[in-house]
Symmetry: D3
Subunit: 243 residues, 6 copies
């Protein structure tokens, strides 16, 4: 199957490292096609960045719509552009926050999220509410590590995350950790080994769930709010997208 | 005071008519500055359109950030880009769905929303949940009137809306109507006279609430998730915005 | 416009100071008519006091019903008698807790309430639930300052409130403060300057929102639960009210 | 034990009939002391009536505070003055809506309320939310029977209630009925026999639960929000109450 | 009346002590018939134990179905088998967690639960959600006292519980304590005397509420989900139950 | 990998057909080991049946605990014994209702459940609440088809289900169907082809999600409420299980 992986930010280095993480966990027959928007911020650390990331995901989803993609993963923990992408793609579309929450909720009674900048906790909180994990998610914890610092995650950074996870498990009385950034994809196994509880990376979870949904023959419904966009005039740089 | 009115779609005709509606209700000392994005769809009738509308609002908010704007209104019922705009603007920023819900909840125990395409009801529903009006809002009703048809709203269209509002009031046992589209701004008084219950237009409500908040000396907080965007590299057409 | 301001307690000094605060923020054309019940406690600091305050508000609303009042504000943070007043008055009726919550929710993602006696926190909590601000309101904090001590708020009292607000902002990770007592009306600007986040006084907010709703031509609906009271025999001192 | 039964309205005929219903179900050793306010409406059918009923309950609770009352029941389905009475009385204080909801929830997975005027459904709805029966209570149904018509409930009225209950059971897929007015106290057994599902009268339920709580040695806590009212000046007719 | 008391675990000593506690509080005319399952764990301290306790309650309820039982109490704080028992018994069936939550909610605005092993807090939490006491129950606190240690509760154990209750009251700002284990039945009065707030034992509460419901002539509805089990083939040791 | 599939009822025919459905969707390297309890009802159509099904699942999970099972699926839509099984098994354990809800929520904004006996809707409703799908699940619809009739599902039965699904999609305004019984496992593709929206069978979904979680290296946490059962005396037939 062909799995489209959209990195909503414009850091090519991060696109490459997320793609590598996805390829590592993907099944033998899964081809990973990694893309990033033609515009926008190099990392998403707030609502302003997120608005551009969402439009960037919509752009890439629209551009890939005719490419025979079987499923799509949006690789930023705010799940920007998820609904927009579902309108223009036929196969399942999964956000990595969404996938990570579902995975953690299938395993543990309560989980905690450890993420990057504290100011983004609100974005994760709203996703928790939207998806219905208010009871399963017992806490969302910022570490104030900038997203781009994750590109070269050394021992100190891993230790910081481990300490934050331990504090979260104790304070929240939870039994699993969700890593709140695509840039943490490579750290899940290390942290799981150290913490002794399940540690969920959303990129890996989304890839496996996308494969599962595709194998089940399940697609995004094309009725209701995920029907194709209604035709209308478009202006400016975006008008090329819908020609 | 200077009030920035952003129409998130790219229909210049709708920008003009919303601006006219805003000027009609604005206080004597309020100057209305109407803007629309440089790109994107001519109307917002789904998630895909909405993603571009949000980025367009973010663009216009960013461009206006140094212009001495005292308050801002986002004139599309999905409140696209609301949080993004709050990060880059100092004064209060109000969405018209937000303003309309607040106004209706101050007046009546229960209200109903009458909107355009049924597929957008989900967007309004999520706003109701986000803002906390799950109990006050007793129903959201699509009429499947395309947004751009509202530009020339004739008697038949008003009659359709009136009939939908009557059905909503009866079915929901509610006592007020919220009009679910900026394009309905001019119809509130007519419908209120016919229905005999409060009919809230979000554009007018947002203008008056923005004036009220400004008079109270209240601003968007610049701590937490509405702090200014963190500096970082930007790519593509958007890089000019943050130079 | 004529704006009726009902102080639900029987402290004439507090009525005067609330009226002064209201006049300071009111628009040029707004006449403030301040009233207090003919009976009841000099401050409202619990459910027992509140029951009399509510009946007192109902009394004053009924007495003012024919006076050409355009809008009404109930100036006690428990919003006593709000629904009762809406049954007998035609214009909008706003409680100050209600108004403050709406204002804070229009500005910040999360706010905290700083109030007087801890035992009244339950009353504020129930209003938060009734109005739907469970998610926006992140904490309600008693200071155990008696209401009547606010009449002569000196430096020490302001410092106590400032310290309580700082603790609340940190503990709740919120970005705005709501002052939980009409007697704090004069302190909002001082506290806002010191705290650097929006500080909302409900009296001022209610006055401006009442003006806004009146300007919008919006009235209390006279169908459903706010229809006029059904006629019936009344007994005792109250029978004069409905004659 | 001495059980104080407060009828919040001023209809002496209704006080007598509620007292009779209470005596019929009370245990051998339970003395029923029935009271009504010295002022206020002859029935409670809306928020305005309710505000006076609550103050009337507070008045009667205060007057009875030194009388050696072991438990108290407030016999109006809106539970007016419940919290106020708890501040001034030592024994358990139960509202009849509260008691009926608890009883129905102990028996059935879902119940429906059949009440009098439709405009009072909002009052019952808020109690359902406050007490936490949002899931157990599947519907609240007005019959638009005025409260005082229940004083002489003939066959036609019983038939109307039976029909409303049948419709409610079917529409709500519920398995028990709560009668939503103290004036319906005498009709529960007849309706239960006809409907074949539990029919709960709040007056009887409150009497038996009050006896149960008293036998358990459980009292209203005198810390927190039910601590005795704080002393302060009182004005007007009510000043005698707190002397 | 005949009151069936089912201890869901297989400790005969605990069955006897619970029965003794029930007899102490029961009315003169109430006969207590105590039973325990023919199989399963000697205490219930987790989900695995609970699954067998629920089947054991179902077994005993089925065996007692023809015995003229007027009401039934399930004496384990997880309320195992409550719904199953309601399908096969005609009279009211009450769990002790259920009864304790209802009693505490009738008395205080907020209560705290003090229970045994921390790992069982999740079970109590789910009951709180199912019954609708999310707002009334402000905290559930494990003490990590094994259930069977309660059989010989000495001074040290009582002191441990008292200390846990004091911490809970302060941390939760609550005004009543619910004891979270049938094995604590004998300790409520001692703890209440020491703490000065209501302390609710579920066994006693369930007995008195069962008597109250029986006196009210209220039964488990035999429509909907509590209709008798549908006949079908049964296998293994359980097949004798339904012959 | 070795995947344990527990059918909670004692119908060997149903165990075989569920196992066949599981094998059809399982990956090449997945071995399906199908088990059923040694006791209990041949189908689960209510709370009483469910209590035995849960104990039966606990029994089979305990018996399989040392068998090198990598993941487990519980194949009854009430997810009986799910938590109990998680205490005694190391790998992921999934219920089929749980898996189906997660899958549907990853695809569509709203879904509807079509199930067997109406009396079991309450069981599904409680799972929806427990798992947090209250907003995603827009309706649960009974068809009153007995579970065992599904063993020989002919054209008429499929037509009944199709009609029920169409009514559900229209009434709930939903965009996906969840089949509410393990016995419907073979019908998903036929119904999906006819309805044109995603139709989710929980057995297939659970198998694929179990494979996904196993591939991700995620296990049930062995801290908190899923720690192994505490050792204690056991009685009767069950004592052999824990020897």
């Amino acid at each position: 199957m062909r799995l489209l992986l959209i990195n909503p930010n414009t850091s090519a280095a991060m696109t490459a490292s997320i793609a590598a993480a996805a390829r590592e966990i993907a099944a033998a027959g899964t081809e990973i096609i990694a893309r990033q928007p033609s515009f926008g911020p190099a990392s998403i650390e707030g609502h302003f960045d997120d608005a551009f990331g969402a439009a960037g995901v919509a752009e890439q989803a629209r551009l890939a719509a005719g490419d025979g993609v079987d499923a799509t993963v949006i690789a930023c923990f705010g799940d920007p552009g998820l609904d927009a992408a579902r309108e223009v793609l036929a196969g399942p579309v999964l956000g990595i926050a969404e996938a990570a929450f579902h995975a953690a909720a299938m395993l543990a009674t309560g989980f905690s999220v450890v993420t990057t900048m504290s100011r983004t906790c609100v974005i994760a909180e709203r996703l928790v509410q939207r998806y219905g994990f208010e009871r399963a998610c017992r806490g969302i914890h910022g570490t104030d590590i900038p997203v781009l610092d994750l590109e070269a995650a050394g021992d100190a950074l891993v230790a910081t995350l481990e300490a934050a996870a331990r504090r979260a498990l104790a304070a929240d009385r939870s039994e699993a950790i969700v890593l709140g950034c695509a840039g943490m994809a490579g750290l899940a196994r290390t942290l799981q080994a150290r913490l002794g509880v399940p540690v969920v990376d959303g990129v890996a979870a989304a890839v496996k769930f996308a494969e599962a949904l595709a194998a089940l023959g399940l697609q995004t419904p094309k009725v209701g709010d995920y029907a194709p966009p209604r035709p209308k005039p478009w202006a400016g740089w975006a008008s090329g997208l819908v020609a």
